[in-house]
């Protein structure tokens, strides 16, 4: 194993879902309070030196310049605050930025989080705001919706590898099954394969239940330099690998629509840095914005061979109790996907798992975890690897 980059000493996550009457700042405060309250040795005002926060769009709340706003609402003025944007990977970009700050020695204790408040906007409105993460003149202009981009990936994957709509449906069924065990999840109810298959088509072959919902929510972690982590908790979680890559904003230029090159490259960097491989991962949070994306992630992270992602879900390997439990939180599909909050929400789940605080969805004896977060049509890809630090 390797020298950790940084340590997570606390984490907080708001309830995800339809949070009527609450806005980004309040959701972020809800998440931050949980992180502060569960770490009695942390004096936020004294100890936290900076905030890094991810949020995708100013359009939802007619609100830009959110870094000072969120900082203020968690009582941390006048500390420096940084807002990052990487579409659905916005708060993973915040995590990477925070890691640079810690590794450089500039800061020792920082708050890292993400926020998005979406459900007060109509489905059509949300569809249009999310589509901004695709190319305007060459995708949006031609009527290609955001689900449409993943629909084209799914058709390619089906054609190349024989992946079926049933296999994609099973990803949604699994993640809903896990969501039942997460009291913070947007959806805490089981669904069946036939319910997924008969749900309304959105971008064939993707149907409504292949798509994650629009959700409100916020999440955060308290990140420290590894040498002082034990001052705050006996059970820190160390970040031992971090990788990031970019690809074309649009899908059409790529050589292969069945691979997320950014995930492959980011995973290679993270595995190499952490000196671990896919077989060492005990629990993973994956970017299942659409069911096909989780199947592709299995392959690109090396959980199975290319083209065998459908078979992996058929075997039940990624269920709780399986060989590599994936999206124990319920994933984007059932936990919900408040876009900017997702990256650090994945980190929160891994923190809970590796500190044995995941309750009914605990993976027994989990030592090493992984998060995979992609932005847009996998134009940004970020992978982090975590290890118990006690």
């Amino acid at each position: 194993m390797t020298q950790p980059l940084a340590s997570i000493v606390s984490a907080g996550i708001s309830r995800f879902g339809v949070r009527e009457g609450l806005y980004g700042r309040e959701l972020f405060a809800e998440a931050a309070r949980e992180a502060f309250d569960s770490c009695p040795n942390l004096n936020p005002k004294r100890d936290i030196q900076a905030l890094f926060v991810g949020m995708m769009s100013d359009s939802y709340e007619h609100q830009a310049h959110v870094a000072p706003l969120f900082l203020d609402w968690v009582g941390l003025l006048p500390k420096p605050a940084f807002r990052t944007e990487g579409a659905c990977a916005s708060s993973s970009v915040a995590m990477r930025t925070a890691l640079f700050a810690i590794v450089s020695g500039m800061y020792d204790v920082v708050l890292v989080g993400g926020v998005e408040k979406m459900t007060h906007v109509s489905t059509t409105g949300v569809t249009e705001i999310l589509a901004m993460a695709s190319d305007f003149p060459f995708e949006q202009w031609h009527g290609i919706s955001f689900p449409g981009i993943f629909g084209m990936m799914a058709v390619d994957h089906m054609n190349r590898y024989g992946t079926t709509e049933e296999q994609m449906a099973k990803v949604a069924v699994k993640n809903h099954e896990h969501g039942v065990l997460n009291p913070k999840a947007h959806f805490q109810k089981r669904i069946t394969v036939s319910e997924v298959l008969t749900s309304r088509p959105v971008a064939w072959p993707l149907k409504l239940y292949d798509c994650c919902p629009r959700s409100d929510g916020a999440s955060c972690i308290v990140l420290t330099s590894p040498k002082i982590a034990k001052k705050f908790t006996d059970t820190p979680v160390n970040i031992i690998g971090s990788g990031q890559a970019q690809d074309t904003l649009s899908l059409f230029e790529r050589e292969n629509f069945s691979t997320m090159k950014v995930t492959k490259l980011a995973a290679q960097q993270a595995y190499e840095m952490a000196k671990v491989g896919p077989k060492d991962i005990d629990v993973a949070e994956l970017h299942d914005c659409f069911t096909i994306a989780e199947i592709i992630a299995y392959e690109d992270l090396g959980f199975c061979d290319k083209g065998k992602g459908g078979k992996l879900i058929d075997e039940g390997a990624t269920y709780l109790g399986g060989r590599i439990p994936s999206n124990t939180s319920g994933g984007l599909k059932a936990k919900g996907h408040p876009v900017g909050a997702t990256g650090t929400a994945q980190a929160c789940e891994i923190y809970l798992q590796l500190t044995n605080q995941a309750g009914r969805r605990q993976v027994a004896g989990a030592e090493i975890g992984l998060t995979e977060n992609v932005g847009g049509s996998a134009s940004t890809g970020i992978v982090h690897i975590y290890q118990r630090g006690d």
């Binding site: 489905t123 059509t124 569809t127 249009e128 589509a131 003149p137 060459f138 995708e139 949006q140 202009w141 031609h142 009527g143 290609i144 919706s145 689900p147 449409g148 629909g151 084209m152 990936m153 799914a154 058709v155 390619d156 054609n159 309304r200 088509p201 959105v202 971008a203 064939w204 072959p205 993707l206 649009s250 899908l251 059409f252 230029e253 629509f257």
Partner: protein
Amino acid sequence: MKVSPSEATGFICDDNGAVLPTVENFYKFCGERKLMGVKCMACGTLLWPPRGICPKCFSYKVEWTEFKGRGKLLTYTIIHFPPSQFQALAPYAVGIVKLGEGPQLPGMIRNIKLEDLHIGMDLEVDFEITVPKEWPRWPRYFFKPAR
């Protein structure tokens, strides 16, 4: 390709009157029923969308070239829940087409029964007659089954 200055044609040109390799100019060509890309003058790579820096060799010298507009369907999807301005068309097909010249273009696929769509089918480009009323007022190209 040298063309007359922007005042006469509406194209955005450099000081010598050469049409710049921009998104706006690409769509202006569509208005003339031409599907255009650019070619890197240093390494010969065809670039689409048009742009001013070759990602292969970093040359800044590119020149417009016209595509025949015929190609094969690589992948597609059927949009049932469209962005608001496309609501009247739903359900409709969009896909990615590999042109005979090599570049890959996204676009709507029209004049076809949705159940007849299949990967590998031959398609050709066509152009919308009308231009949208609002910004950016770009005339759209689209694909249809090849004759």
